[in-house]
Symmetry: C2
Subunit: 443 residues, 2 copies
């Protein structure tokens, strides 16, 4: 078999990259759990009619069928393209066994049959949190969700050296109330154009609003003026007020957004930006919306996004409103790992290589390894009885910091970086804390 | 949307079940790493021609294609049905970047389009370890692999109360050498029939061997006598010798198997059985073979299996021999979780619910929660300002053991099981170690 070629859009890491990804996922998962989110995992496939309901996303779906499918097979299936559709189905299917408000996290691969290009993948990992209520869900949960996101990103920044982030937050009620206060009947049409603010600039948005939506120049100017407002504190409220528009829904949105900003700033100052041009394309958001930019890598686009929705799902009697956030794990990590901007301290978990002098002493080496492992130290035994220098080079190639010599009869351990070698007991010796596990950090 | 029905063969857990699964996977992963295995994750899909190479497995494959595929699309893809085919491809693709012998683990979903039935799934999780060499791999690695398996299963038994296991081990060289020593030309044909020993019994195997394979009655009797031999120590060597057959390959197999049994018994006594009737269906095994039965649930079949193979992959110049073990995580857990034989201490990660007296004090509750989380305690804030009793019931329903009252002004914490309530500081109080995390154990 000739050397296989990678499949475009399906990123895979070398072991060191996967060690980095696992370290990140452990932080993400641990933080979700600290905030009381319970894990679920859903199957990779959903019935095709569930996946294709949203017209425009049709073409991105991967259809799945048995190679030798026959008439007895159930309806066609597709791979899920996000974790929201399967979660909505899961909530409906298991509602009787869940306690609401239900806080769940879910970290899984998703698949999209898009044309692969820079920053777009056909298979990638998402990490989602959602809080879902039965018929109602209090507004204060919109404040809670970005606190989790900030907690995650601050740890990734502090512990692993990932770039810090800025959370851009807006509120659909604020925008819709503002537009209605201007006498605009179709706020959705306006929002759709304002969504292009960053790409095409304010003047072009004004043109779209007057040309395509039919707003007056005054209305369009006011909409674009609103979109231009942003602030890291509650000063945006006065800025919006200075535009002289009033509407009940606008006040509600302003109130929700300023509560969010002030609570977030009490937790981690300076990371959240009230940003009136954030719209989020998806129709189902109805209140707060979130986007997250990696500082210095803004051109990647939002790496974690979400918002409030009135109806995740409904069984006809009960409706499930919620608020959620989705972290694009692959989108964040693949460029950092691929460009070597974040690295692992070694390519294997092992902190120690137990050397083997000759094959007759292998049993003693295995026993020494077992004693070290019993105390939580990752160890491998040299695959070959070999000379001193070769054992060192074997460890060096993998980044294993310590080599254990004379297992079971004349035990000593050598730090191959400093060259220091000391007598040691397999029941007592510990590597320094920073060498015990693989560490991950900036290059 | 009406309540969705489960898809047969695609098991999903409620959050408490997923907490159990995660606890198990953490032990599995942690143990693999203690033994120096590095993680990889491969994409879910492989080119169809790679997956369908092994004729008989054809019909189990799920084909994957874009809903609106066009001529420009690459070759058809299929979901992987095990982790060996993708690993073989990964080794060939990345050989230049891997250090051999390469020790890797891989924990992922696999898919098989089989008819669903008791104990068979269409989507399930496997956890694989393999040690792969370049052109050669020493025999002692065959001894190392079951030590990892024993370490995993002993921890699952000791820490989570899973049933203990028996590792059944055999060696293809032993069987093949024995058959050749009897003058049999087609050892594979014999092995294939001996594989049915447990299902159809020794007499029926003798009939197959004389009828279908054309052995003499004496040859067939000897083969079945060999298959009947098993021992928890090295006594099997004498039992085989007493059958009076000799062959070089038989001696090699006996030597490898007794080294394995004696090393395994030094590590965990009484869990390994040299079992001469273990054949493993797959053709590519060439030496040691492993199967694992859950004591008391033998009818589930082998829940973890593997063996030695001469060629995982080859690029024409280099061949990659290896030895591996695959743990059927879903196969082990789905029945235990489904029947409630293993349970989680609560259905959410939270150890503490911070009560909210009235909505004006929510900010103080959020701050108290943050202080507890900063010290590693999983916390959620009550979604609603409510009466004392209702807050308790909210925690009770989820199994949260502690409720925090008077956040920020008159802090106290109540163990809702004992009713004991004590003044506490969010910067100092810790729950007992056994309440800090969700614990998993027998019902």
């Amino acid at each position: 078999m000739p050397r296989p070629k990678p499949l475009s859009g399906f990123p895979e890491f070398l072991p060191a990259g996967r060690l980095i990804e696992n370290t990140v996922l452990d932080i993400v998962r641990g933080t979700f759990e600290l905030h009381g989110f319970a894990p679920i995992e859903t199957r990779a496939v959903e019935p095709l009619d569930q996946l294709s309901r949203k017209g425009e996303i049709d073409k991105e779906i991967y259809v799945v069928r048995r190679l030798h499918a026959d008439g007895a097979d159930p309806d066609e299936l597709g791979l899920h393209f996000d974790l929201t559709v399967p979660f909505a189905r899961y909530v409906l299917e298991h509602a009787g066994h869940l306690a609401f408000p239900f806080r769940r996290y879910q970290i899984q691969k998703v698949w999209r049959g898009e044309r692969p290009q820079e920053g777009r993948y056909r298979e990638f990992t998402q990490a989602d949190i959602d809080i879902v209520g039965q018929d109602q869900l209090a507004a204060h949960h919109d404040v809670e969700i970005p606190l989790v996101a900030l907690d995650v990103f601050e740890k990734l920044h502090r512990d692993l050296g990932l770039p810090p982030v800025t959370l851009h937050v807006n509120n659909r009620k604020l925008a819709e109330g503002f537009y209605r206060g201007l006498g605009i009947e179709e706020p959705a049409a306006v929002l759709q154009r304002v969504d292009k603010y960053d790409k095409i600039g304010p003047e072009a948005v004004v043109e779209l609003l007057t040309g395509e939506v039919g707003l007056s120049r005054t209305q369009a100017d006011a909409c674009v003026a609103l979109a231009g407002i942003s602030a890291r504190d509650e000063s945006f409220v006065d800025q919006v007020a200075s535009l002289g528009v009033s509407h009940e829904l606008l006040d509600e949105g302003l109130g929700e957004l300023s509560a969010l900003i002030s609570t977030a700033n009490r937790t981690v100052a300076g990371r959240v930006l009230a940003d009136m041009k954030i719209a989020r394309g998806l129709d189902y958001y109805t209140g707060t919306v979130y986007e997250t930019l990696l500082n210095g890598s803004e051109k990647l686009g939002s790496v974690a996004s979400g918002g409030r929705y009135d109806s995740l799902a409904s069984d006809g009697k009960v409706t499930f409103p919620g608020v959620g956030y989705s972290f694009g794990i692959t989108r964040i990590l693949a460029p950092l790992i691929g460009k070597g901007r974040i690295v692992a301290s070694r390519s294997v978990p092992s902190a120690v290589l137990v050397a083997v002098d000759n094959e007759e002493t292998r049993a003693a080496a295995i026993e020494t390894a077992a004693r070290l492992r019993a105390r939580g130290i990752a160890v491998e035994v040299a695959p070959k009885a070999d000379k001193f220098g070769r054992q060192i080079r074997f460890a060096e190639r993998r980044g294993i910091p310590f080599v254990w010599f004379g297992a079971g009869h004349d035990d000593s351990v050598k730090d191959i970086r400093s060259g220091e070698q000391v007598p040691a007991s397999a029941d007592a010796w510990m590597p320094p804390a920073e060498d015990l596990r693989v560490t991950v950090g900036p290059a």
